[in-house]
């Protein structure tokens, strides 16, 4: 919009309006770069706290990543193995996505293509409300309502388990997937729809063959933000998973996630102790997982574009 010399468009500009323009440009540049600085800074500080233990000779990265034995306060033999928590995190996230993605994308399709403006506005308000519920309230719901429900319906031995957390996380990431998915579908140009209808496509064919491929990147972004929400969620999973260190054998087994573990132990651990640093190392690990998810998504999007 500001291409070309100012005079060439026909506006006459004074010296200070030009300076203000430069100033605003600089400000916007800083805003853009700030995200990079922030992410870099956070990574730096978390990594700095974790580094002493990662570099210490007693600490084995192999044991940390591939052992399930998490005994940070043992009086006889302290062990730091987080494999069970990695599996727990991935399990509840996968479960949440298995529930939330079909419902979320379905909801987005309904909102953008199948419902009238009045219904849409109402539903959007309700979905926004769903997003506004604090995670501790979700956790409370898991501890009381869902817990009892799982025992009654699935005859689970204990209601605080992977399925409980998966259900809560699905409900928590649903609003994100629906609203961003709807935006992505809305962004598909109307000319595509018109072309489809002109070719005699039914409504379903239009959605399936035209809109979904057209909005693919946006929908993928919606799903990934949902994944991010599920991986990073702490309070609700702390309350609903049962917080047990073990590789789950099924949906109805209690698990522990990386985030919930940090939350429950960080409050009482003494600063600069080995246990404290290992908790930061878990933070670095979480960073790594998020990075891998985003990287994978980026590669998939590129693949989609190339085709």
């Amino acid at each position: 919009m500001t291409e070309g010399a100012p005079g060439s468009i026909g506006f006459r500009r004074s010296w200070h309006s030009l300076a203000a323009e430069r100033g605003i440009e600089a400000l916007i540049t800083v805003c853009g770069i700030s995200a990079v600085i922030l992410v870099g800074g956070i990574f730096f500080f978390v990594f700095r706290e974790a580094l002493p233990v990662l570099a210490s000779p007693n600490f084995s990265l192999g044991e940390f990543l591939f052992s399930v034995e998490w005994y940070p306060t043992s009086v006889t033999d302290v062990r730091y193995g987080v494999l069970a928590m990695i599996v727990g995190t991935l399990a509840v996230t996968a479960l949440a996505m298995a529930i939330a993605v079909p419902f979320g994308i379905g909801g987005a399709i309904y909102l953008s293509e199948f419902c009238g403006p009045k219904v849409r506005e109402t539903l959007k308000v309700v979905i926004e409300l769903l997003a506004a519920i604090p995670s501790v309230v979700w956790g409370f719901l898991g501890l009381t309502v869902v817990n009892q429900l799982l025992i009654t319906v699935f005859d689970a031995a204990v209601g605080l388990n992977a399925l409980n957390a998966g259900l809560l996380l699905a409900l928590m990431s649903l609003p994100i997937i629906v609203s961003i998915g709807e935006d992505a579908l809305k962004a598909v140009p109307d000319s595509y729809r018109e072309a489809g209808i002109a070719l005699g496509a039914t409504r379903w064919q239009l959605v399936y063959r035209v809109l979904l491929p057209g909005a693919r990147n946006g929908l993928l972004a919606a799903v990934l933000l949902g994944v991010g929400r599920a991986v990073g969620e702490t309070m609700a999973v702390l309350m609903a998973t049962g917080h047990a260190v073990q590789i789950p054998g099924g949906l109805l087994d209690p698990v522990r996630t990386l985030t919930a573990n940090i939350a429950s132990e960080m409050g009482e651990v003494s600063k600069d102790s080995e246990h404290y640093r290992v908790l930061f190392a878990i933070g670095v690990l979480l960073f790594g997982i998020t990075f891998l998810v985003n990287l994978a998504a980026d590669l998939v999007v590129r693949g989609v574009r190339r085709r």
Binding site: E69, D155, A157, K271
Partner: protein, 311 residues
């Protein structure tokens, strides 16, 4: 010693709050009002709160402010001088005693204010009545072989899967520490044990989960759960009763402590004397814990004269 650093940070928050509380009290009342700050064990929070409320009626000039946070947090606050009394459900560790001497120039003094039997809870419909300490260890500790209710020779109809769900406190809790020390002989817990954030939550989950077993203070008992009798090797099973706690025949009972720096004086002494007197001890049993035996109870102290309360 390094472990105290983090606790001090937490205590700094308590200090700020305490300062705020004291200041507002001094401003809000025309006459002088003494504020006693009391912090620590979550096991003791109910009884400490009840003492403070009742004492307000006995001694209107004294206000006792109670906060939780855990035994370690209360002890750290005592060392930092932000509270007059620390509540603890475990004895002070040597390092903490040393830190008190260094920081406050006096030895910590221990006051036993009552007792608690750490109770092993199962679902009300569970047919199991008692366990030996060895069975408890085999069930909860790493390497133990018991994992099913049928291992106890019973048929638990409410739990058709037969698998035992073990429920514990989080690793930072004093109750977790005490159970590991006294019941598991310092062995670590088995992997897959559920860790909950509160004594009350443990009992509630056991009440809702037929297959479960958990442990918590005796003050948390509800109709939905059953208290197991425990036996030492070769001994008879002992139920967690007041009598069995006092004569130490119940194997995992513990004193509930209050700590002060040096021998208590002034209002602090009067408060502790009152806690040790029959009115204070009646509250201990009302909350569900075990009061001190009559031999350890002091006389009913005379209510402080108005001149003492408002000098």
């Amino acid at each position: 010693m390094a472990s105290l650093l983090a606790r001090r940070l937490q205590a700094a928050g308590a200090l700020a709050l305490a300062a705020l509380g004291t200041a507002s009290c001094q401003r809000s009342t025309a006459s002088e009002r003494t504020v006693l700050l009391n912090r620590g064990s979550d096991t003791m929070i109910n009884v400490a709160q009840a003492w403070a409320e009742e004492y307000a009626k006995v001694a209107p000039g004294v206000s006792v402010e109670v906060a939780g946070g855990g035994s370690g947090v209360g002890i750290a606050a005592l060392i930092d001088g932000t509270v007059q009394i620390a509540n603890s459900s475990r004895p002070m560790k040597p390092a903490e005693q040393e830190a008190t001497r260094t920081a406050r120039g006096a030895d910590p003094v221990e006051h036993v204010t009552g007792y608690d039997a750490l109770v092993v809870y199962v679902h009300a419909k569970n047919p199991v009545q008692s366990m030996t300490l060895e069975q408890l260890r085999d069930l909860f500790a790493e390497g133990g072989r018991i994992s099913r209710w049928s291992d106890f020779g019973v048929r638990h109809d409410a739990c058709p899967r037969d698998t035992i769900i073990r429920i514990s406190r989080q690793s930072s809790s004093g109750t977790y520490d005490f159970f590991r020390e006294a019941a598991l002989d310092k062995h670590d817990f088995k992997l897959g044990t559920l860790e909950l954030n509160g004594s009350k939550e443990v009992v509630e989950l056991v009440a809702h989960t037929p297959c479960a077993i958990g442990y918590s203070g005796m003050g948390y008992a509800t109709p939905g759960v059953k208290m197991l009798s425990l036996s030492r090797e070769g001994g008879p099973p002992v139920a967690p009763t007041v009598q069995a706690t006092l004569d130490r025949s119940y194997p995992i009972a513990r004193p509930l402590y209050m700590y002060t720096v040096g021998q208590p004086e002034g209002e602090t002494k009067r408060y502790l004397d009152w806690i040790h007197s029959p009115p204070g001890q009646r509250i201990v049993s009302a909350v569900g814990y075990v009061p001190l035996p009559a031999s350890e109870t002091g006389p009913v102290p005379a209510p402080p004269s108005p001149s003492e309360v408002h000098p």
